[in-house]
Amino acid sequence: MHLMLWLLVLFSGGIFIWNLINGPGTFTLLRFTFAQLNLHLGLRIDALSTLLALMISLLGAAIGRYAIRHLDGDPRQVYFFRHLLLIVLAVMLFVLSSNLLMLLGMWLLSSYGLHRLLLYYSGRPAAVYAARKKIIISRLGDLALLGAIILIFQSVRTFEFNEIFARIQSDTLSASVQTMLAVACFLIVAGAMAKSAQFPFHFWLPETMETPSPVSALMHAGIINAGGFLIIRLSPLLVYAPAAQMQLTLVGAFTAVYGALAMIVQNDIKKKLAYSTIGQMGMMMFACGLGAYTIALFHLFAHSFYKAHAFLSTGSLVSESRRVGFKLQPSSLFMLVTVSAIVLALIVAGGSYQSGEWSAYVTYVAVLIPGLFMAFRSDSELKYSRLVVFTSIAIVLFIALAAYSGIEYGMGKYLQTALPTDRSPDVGNVNRLLINVLAGCLFVGGFWLSRLLMRPGGGFARWLYLYFWNGGYASQMSTGFLQRIAPVSEHRWSETYMPFESRQ
């Protein structure tokens, strides 16, 4: 089965190259008509889909290879591989699908596969709770997506992406159709939020650690991105619904800050990584909301590999922490004030540009700035040469930045054909500027709160610590709720699979 994963890599590599040479195209594999509906099963091959298909298949293969040894001797190794293959295939077809119905089908299929893997240890009540919470949230997302699809079909009478995008660009849409599409956009955003663990749909994610690490790696690197992909895929549609985008901007920014703050108070690595994923997904959605789809896509890409690696290598943390190092210290007040001012000034300045595209980029870069300054304060009692240290750091950062800009530029060129040409629907829009400043304030606020968390003095800081430490109590509330409506007992599940400690 591991070999089949590599075959998928070959296949996606093939279509990736095919796309580079021949350009985008749509292939219909199956076509059938049902009650006057033309239903297609087809592959949409363009820069976006082939890149993501390649990414998914590579991750799947790497995780599969890891699992050969990691799940060695485990009676459920085959179970794992079956579902890994199912999920990788489903997600690949999800990104490659040429119409909305197939997209929905694959979205459901990957969700099913993930559910089965979350129940890898179906004998552990905590695993069952987590899977149930995920089911509830996912079904909310499915409903939203289904609603959006129905509305889109009502307005443009087709499921095919090609035709939808062609129709909405033809500028002959009636007012009622436009309203329907705007509502559909809100539903799409809602569906993406549920899928990509945006606040307040995030709380199930930190509880999914009741599965082997490769499952977590797959989920955090491969599946959770689906919401982001949905937004990027439907971006030609979304640019006509600025309100939905603004909503996405704020939700993304809030989730990013929330996840980042909850992350730094966690005492175990996997919960830390889960909150980190929540934060990073927020960042991706934030970029989507700004209309900076290239950045969002690059972020999705970088984060997937980063998180897969992080989950698979948690074991090395033990030997790593033997090394000496300096601990991060809370930022000084002076730095806080200065950085906050810079961030907000940049956003305002960026928003005053004529091009919405630039405004988006500047805003995105501006909110990254606090992070850079944050990392500088550490408890260095030992003597070090400031000159050497700061020059080296500056050089590394410069190289990284140059590479980053280069890749972004390249991605932008590469994705030109797949993404909406006009990404600045709201030039000089005051609302847009306000939203951006608001999002900037969220990040700046997060910067201030992180200082409070790292040196708790007063009652508010302690309350804040307890709040984030408990993940906003969402876990206790939801478990308590499930316990009341449908309790999971060890007896009931005793026949199902347990980790082999319980079977002698």
Binding site: G73, N267, L368
Partner: protein, 844 residues
């Protein structure tokens, strides 16, 4: 209030004796070391004054775990022939004297044991009693784990628990005023319950809560507290560890006592109690409380609860002893001719395999078993490391301190010293300072990027700029085996001998005095005498430490020396080899009557236990005169390694793949090696007794010849140190196998590192201690057969008895059957088992 309460205590006969009850709880708690330097701990260390069987009886009730395997397991071993009929008969007849209920006849016994019930669920805590589905129990375990993890966390969370400065109990009380977790989990009255609790110590709080729960006057209250303790045993071991370290003069940052976590655990039970009471379900609570009336603490020590298990277990151990003693009787090997090369290995069971193959391959080699820190209990500081490693058995205090120096400086000072014979450490120090300066810069830069990754908002920037580098990491880790294969065989990085070396000349004693040549010579003489090679050292003496090279393995250090705090033995071996090669030390040794020939050269090496490779360290410093010998030895080692691997594949399990080398570097490897799985005996005798027999890598081997032991000082040392240590390792494996839910770390796949020093299973809960399932079980069955250690000693009986009488710990371990002592009669080499009390019986 406390005065008033204690006044009442004096007069009230039926009240709980809290001090006694608390000390009873605390005895259940062993220490746990951080995973960075894990130690194989005997979980019953503080219970050793009682017999194994009475402890097993008592604990089973509060742990919800049996300290024996299920009867079906023993029956299977009986069918397979691993448990012998004669052994069962022997145990049965022994028990006749004390237990009238035991069936006298074997067939009857086996028939009746098939009907034995293995279940042992008793719901003692309120949380378990009121909700058998386990919801409250799990919630409480999560909550207590949450607090304990945050309290001890020094590395993982950037934002620390705000109350870390005080005691755990104070911190919990302060935090719980605002922490709404239990409220949202369903216990709405949780917070109100503690409004009336006065500011007091945990002991008084326990009394306060017990009184309100109407348990203070029930005879079962002590057992109730033990059950609570057992349900948070993992985290309690961290409290014990703080105490252990403080006892050895290494105070931790936290001042934590075991009674604090017990008080916190009780508080949650009290919270559930209030919740149920306010729901009006007093009937349930009455039923729960009345259950304690019938529990008499003393009755728990009754012997017959697990009588059948106990007989089977003993029969299994007797069978092993019988089998081993027959093997030992099969003949002593001839040692003549084996005097050119001596290789000193750790007593570790994994050494047995490679030693046997080395001796079979090369007739010039004599191997010696000796404690793997080679008598050098060193506190070692590597270059560019802020951490001081305690490379010594945890039961010993550190004896010497040493640090690393740059290899070039080391060689230079060695040569300059050889030239003028003076101790010149200046170039050494300069080199070290330069390095430390550069290292500080480097580590700051590295820390900057690590902090960028870990910080709240900076993590976004990190992923943007450096996230893609993980692609390279992912590919490299996935393809690593291939890359390494192309590069060929190299010393694993952790044992790397290039760049830096331990500086034996800078060694200091524990009180800071620098050890001059006479002092070092004195230690060297003692070590060589204990090794037994002070008068017969060959041309080449190789000191082979052991360690295991794994990557991405949280339990990696458990595969190193289990006794030496999860460190490898390379540094100790290198220090000792350098010391013994030092001409000055040799001169001083001669003055003490130990003449090591100038021809003799000591060489350090490391036995990598996953691949069974032996890497020779500092080989470039071996003089040309020994080059040929070393070359031919390398060839023998290669052959022996090959044979050992082949044997391992056949004997242990076919689940492991064939590419042994790859396992040391594969980041996905969940079971790099089997560690000390299977260990069941410790043989203290000359190697000649065991050279011709295959012990299946299950036996600790210590070389000892009583005829050359002055005053039996070495014997005393072996029984008080290595025997105790091997007992710790053995009981860790035993407990992890029979009660993995409590004393084992569970399934490695579920592990979630907490505080970067321990693991929890899945989302959280109690800290997991002991060994993970993957170290004991191959997915189909247990590979480790749990047996208490059988210690075979070849020495006169009188001396053994003298040492047992002189050392409480040794006596307790043997008399209370935590391990078995068997004497190999020096006259006829027959084996006699020592029964508790001091009678000896022939194992046949």
């Amino acid at each position: 209030m406390s005065i008033e309460l204690s006044g009442k205590k004096m007069t009230d006969q039926s009240a709980l004796n809290l001090t006694a009850a608390l000390s009873e709880c605390e005895r259940m708690v062993p220490p746990t070391w951080p995973l960075q330097n894990s130690v194989a701990v005997n979980p019953f260390w503080y219970l050793r004054e009682r017999t194994f069987d009475s402890v097993a009886n008592r604990l089973s009730m509060v742990l919800h775990a049996r300290l024996y395997m299920p009867v079906a397991y023993y029956l299977r071993l009986y069918t397979k022939g691993d448990i012998r009929a004669t052994a069962i008969d022997c145990v049965l007849s022994e028990l006749q004297e004390t237990h009238a209920v035991v069936p006298t006849e074997r067939g009857d016994f086996i028939r009746r044991s098939q009907a034995q019930d293995d279940s042992l669920r008793t719901y003692l805590s309120c949380a378990e009693f009121v909700d058998p589905s386990g919801y409250w129990q799990r919630t409480i375990s999560q909550e207590v784990g949450k607090y304990a993890a945050a309290y001890f966390d020094e590395r993982q969370a950037l934002a620390r628990f705000p109350w870390q400065g005080g005691t755990f109990w104070e911190g919990w009380r302060a935090a719980i005023k605002r922490d709404r977790a239990m409220h949202y989990a369903g216990a709405r009255d949780f917070h109100n319950g503690f409004k009336e609790l006065p500011d007091c110590q945990p002991e008084q709080a326990i009394e306060w809560m017990l009184t309100r729960m109407r348990l203070w006057h029930t005879p079962g209250a002590a057992v109730y507290l033990q059950r609570l303790m057992a349900s948070v045993l993992g985290w309690a071991t961290q409290f014990r560890f703080q105490e252990w370290q403080a006892g050895r003069g290494i105070p931790g940052e936290r001042s934590a006592e075991i009674s604090e976590i017990l008080a916190v655990r009780l508080a949650y039970d009290y919270g559930v109690y209030l919740h149920i009471r306010n729901q009006g379900a007093d009937v349930i609570l009455e039923k729960w409380i009345s259950g304690f009336e019938s529990i008499e603490s003393e009755n728990l020590d009754r012997d017959d609860r697990f009588l059948y298990h106990r007989i089977w277990q003993k029969a299994l151990e007797y069978s092993t002893q019988l089998q081993l003693s027959r093997k030992l009787a099969s003949g002593t090997a001839d040692s003549t001719g084996r005097d050119t090369i001596q290789m000193v290995f750790c007593i570790d069971v994994r050494s047995e395999l490679i030693r046997r193959h080395l001796e079979q391959t090369d007739r010039r080699i004599q191997t010696i078993g000796f404690a793997g820190f080679f008598g050098v209990p060193v506190e070692y500081q590597a270059l560019n490391s802020g951490e001081v490693e305690h490379r010594l058995p945890v039961l010993l205090p550190p004896g010497v301190r040493a640090h690393a120096c740059h290899t070039r400086a080391h060689n230079r000072s060695a040569s300059s010293q050889a030239a003028n014979g003076s101790l010149n450490s200046d170039p050494d120090r300069n080199a070290r300072q330069q390095i430390s300066h550069r290292e500080t810069n480097e580590s700051f830069i590295r820390s900057f990027f690590r902090n960028l990754r870990k910080g709240a908002l900076s993590s976004f920037l990190y992923v943007e700029l450096f996230g893609l580098l993980s692609v390279e990491n992912l590919v490299r880790s996935t393809m690593l085996a291939l890359i390494r294969r192309l590069r060929g065989r190299r010393i694993p990085r952790r044992f790397d001998d290039r760049g830096s070396a331990p500086d034996h000349k800078s060694m200091r004693s524990a009180d800071g005095q620098i050890l001059d040549a006479p002092a070092r010579a004195e230690r060297a003489v003692a070590i060589l005498k204990h090794m037994g090679i002070h008068d017969c050292a060959g041309k080449l003496v190789m000191l082979v430490g052991h360690g295991s090279a794994t990557v991405n393995n949280a339990f990696g250090s458990a595969l190193d020396c289990g006794a030496c705090g999860g460190h490898a033995g390379d540094i100790n071996a290198r220090i000792l080899a350098d010391t013994l090669n030092d001409p000055e030390v040799r001169t001083q040794m001669r003055a003490r009557g130990i003449d090591i020939s100038d021809e003799t050269r000591f060489v350090a090496a490391i036995h990598e236990t996953i691949s069974d490779e032996i890497y020779i360290l500092d080989a470039q410093r071996v003089p040309a005169t020994h080059a040929d010998l070393l070359r031919s030895l390398r060839a023998s080692i290669r052959q022996a390694t090959h044979n050992a691997r082949r044997e391992r594949q056949v004997v242990v399990s076919d689940v492991l793949d064939r590419h042994v080398q790859r396992r040391t570097r594969n980041w996905a490897e969940i079971r790099p090696e089997w560690g000390l799985t299977g260990n069941n005996a410790f043989i203290v005798a000359p190697r000649a007794r065991t050279r011709n027999i295959n012990l299946n890598s299950r036996v600790f081997l210590h070389d000892y010849d009583w005829r050359r032991d002055e005053n039996f000082a070495t014997l005393e040392l072996i029984l008080t140190a290595p025997m105790v240590v091997t007992g710790w390792i053995n009981l860790q494996y035993y407990a992890s196998t029979v009660a993995n839910e409590v004393y084992g770390a569970g399934d490695k796949l579920l592990h979630n590192l907490v505080n970067e020093t321990g693991v929890v299973s899945g989302n959280g809960g109690d800290l997991r201690i002991g060994l993970p399932m993957q170290s004991l079980h191959d997915g189909r069955q247990f590979v480790h057969v749990p047996q208490r250690l059988s210690v075979f000693v070849e020495a006169p009986r009188g001396e053994l008895e003298r040492i047992i009488a002189g050392h409480d710990i040794v006596r307790q371990l043997i008399d209370n059957e935590w391990l078995y002592l068997l004497q190999i009669d020096p006259e006829d080499l027959r084996v006699h088992r020592r029964r508790p009390g001091g009678a000896y019986q022939d194992v046949e």
